[in-house]
């Protein structure tokens, strides 16, 4: 047993706070927008140049000039603003975005993150990922615990890095890990997913981690 994609997204939504400006990556992170608690004001930033991103448009109301960073058609909200890519990354690099939730291929126990290229395969590019992990105050990764049965939480990333010592929290289908990216506290397992066991996590994790009291 483990969390589904939607349960992982719902857990990630617990990291949101009222008044937050948040950037959501492609994949499971996008689902987090479905779990913003009622009455909480959260503005979603899209790095191509939009703050206050609304839901997908109704069929027939798509606007080619109104897309998100995944190039999907979206809509405006009453709070929406548009701006250039330079202003967008001033928000990101300048530390004005409270939270970035994104996916990853590998995470190391010191908070290193790899999610942009696999040597030997066609490289698509990093897009805005390197800017987001370097500039946003708090970086939360949502990902499957393993890829084809192999651990993704490692002692050291084997893939080229997107950012060094940048990850604060990792949510997988098996549990939640905190990382002391700035200090020497390492990685700590702080929550177990519904039905997951400590043994199951130990078997599927290469990184060294401590287990929070009470688990």
């Amino acid at each position: 047993m483990a969390w589904t994609r939607d349960q992982m997204a719902a857990r990630a939504a617990m990291e949101l706070h009222d008044g937050f400006y948040v950037n959501l990556g492609i994949g499971i992170p996008t689902l987090v927008s479905n779990y913003i608690p009622e009455g909480m004001s959260v503005q979603l930033q899209s790095e191509n140049g939009m703050l206050g991103m609304g839901p997908f448009p109704y069929e027939g109301e798509e606007d080619a000039d109104l897309i998100n960073a995944g190039k999907q058609t979206v809509t405006e909200l009453p709070t929406t603003s548009f701006f250039s890519s330079a202003d967008s990354f001033a928000m990101i690099r300048g530390g004005h975005i409270n939270l970035s939730i994104l996916g990853a291929m590998q995470i190391a126990e010191n908070g290193d993150l790899a999610n942009w290229m696999i040597p030997g395969k066609m490289v698509k590019g990093m897009g805005g990922a390197m800017d987001l992990v370097a500039g946003v105050k708090r970086v939360v990764v949502v990902m499957e615990h393993t890829a084809k049965g192999k651990p993704k939480l490692l002692k050291k990333c084997t893939l080229p890095l997107t950012g060094a010592q940048v990850v604060d929290l990792v949510i997988t289908d098996l549990g939640v890990f905190e990382i002391d990216k700035a200090g020497s506290g390492g990685m700590t397992l702080v929550e177990l997913a519904e039905g997951a066991t400590l043994d199951q996590i130990a078997e599927n994790t290469e990184a060294t981690y401590s287990v929070a009291p009470g688990l």
Binding site: E62, D65, R93
Partner: protein, 235 residues
């Protein structure tokens, strides 16, 4: 009196294009791309271009047109993943890519246009992006030096423009266009609506006309959608 208005894209680019030149092209994905000007560069036949653009279009659309004609020698981009022909030319070694993080790319262009030759950013520290570049500590954190970018010609797309070259962009079609307009020896803009001076509210102008050398009226932009996503209407 200087006349910035040209009748069409080919005429507007007349005398500006040459082999091995550096070209900036606005847009994010297919949103806000200078479609008519890209087509005119393609039909001009110039080769071995260095193209600075966030993306490389998709097959047959946007900069994808210039891949078909093999006019691009090098791209400076943050993401080129939507283009099969690009992948083939890249893997065959026919085209070089300088991958630049999206925010670093935006700032390199902004800096280039503002006369700033280099700046330091946190983005890419500890990654392959920082290899071969100066890394310096400021206030206890590491930053990598990135260079400003300046092109021979920039081509941009705007929603409205006047004959003085003042521009207004629409929604997320703004993206890289305003910075690119500032960062080239000559900037050529295509606009969906072209009006007389005085018809745009000066408070709303996003790119002042000083940055725009030539302008064309292009009312019929195709505006392709890469990912058409919709939701169901409530019953």
């Amino acid at each position: 009196m200087t006349n910035k208005v040209y009748p069409d894209a080919s005429t507007a680019l007349d005398g500006l294009l040459s082999d091995s030149m550096t070209l900036m092209s606005g847009g994010f994905g297919l949103c806000g791309i200078p479609e008519a000007l890209i087509a005119a560069v393609a039909s001009s036949g110039v080769k071995d271009l260095t193209v600075i653009s966030n993306n490389a279009g998709v097959d047959g659309i946007g900069l994808g047109v210039m891949l078909e004609t093999r006019q691009i020698g090098k791209m400076v981009s943050s993401y080129v993943g939507e283009n099969k022909l690009f992948a083939k030319q890249f893997l065959d070694g026919d085209i070089a890519v300088e991958f630049t993080p999206q925010g670093t790319l935006a700032e390199r262009i902004r800096a280039g246009g503002a006369g700033i030759p280099a700046f330091f950013t946190k983005t890419g520290v500890g990654t392959t992006v920082a290899e071969g570049k100066e890394v310096r500590e400021f206030d206890g954190a590491q930053y990598v030096m990135e260079r400003g970018l300046f092109a021979d010609v920039a081509i941009v797309h705007a929603w409205k423009g006047d004959t003085e070259g003042n521009l207004i962009y629409r929604k997320t079609a703004r993206n890289f266009n305003p910075m690119m307009a500032t960062a080239a020896r000559i900037t050529v803009a295509e606009v969906e609506e072209l009006v007389e001076p005085g018809e745009l509210d000066p408070d709303q102008i996003m790119t002042p006309g000083i940055f725009v050398d030539r302008i064309i009226h292009y009312p019929d932009a195709s505006k392709h959608i890469e990912q058409r996503t919709t939701r169901a209407r409530e019953a």
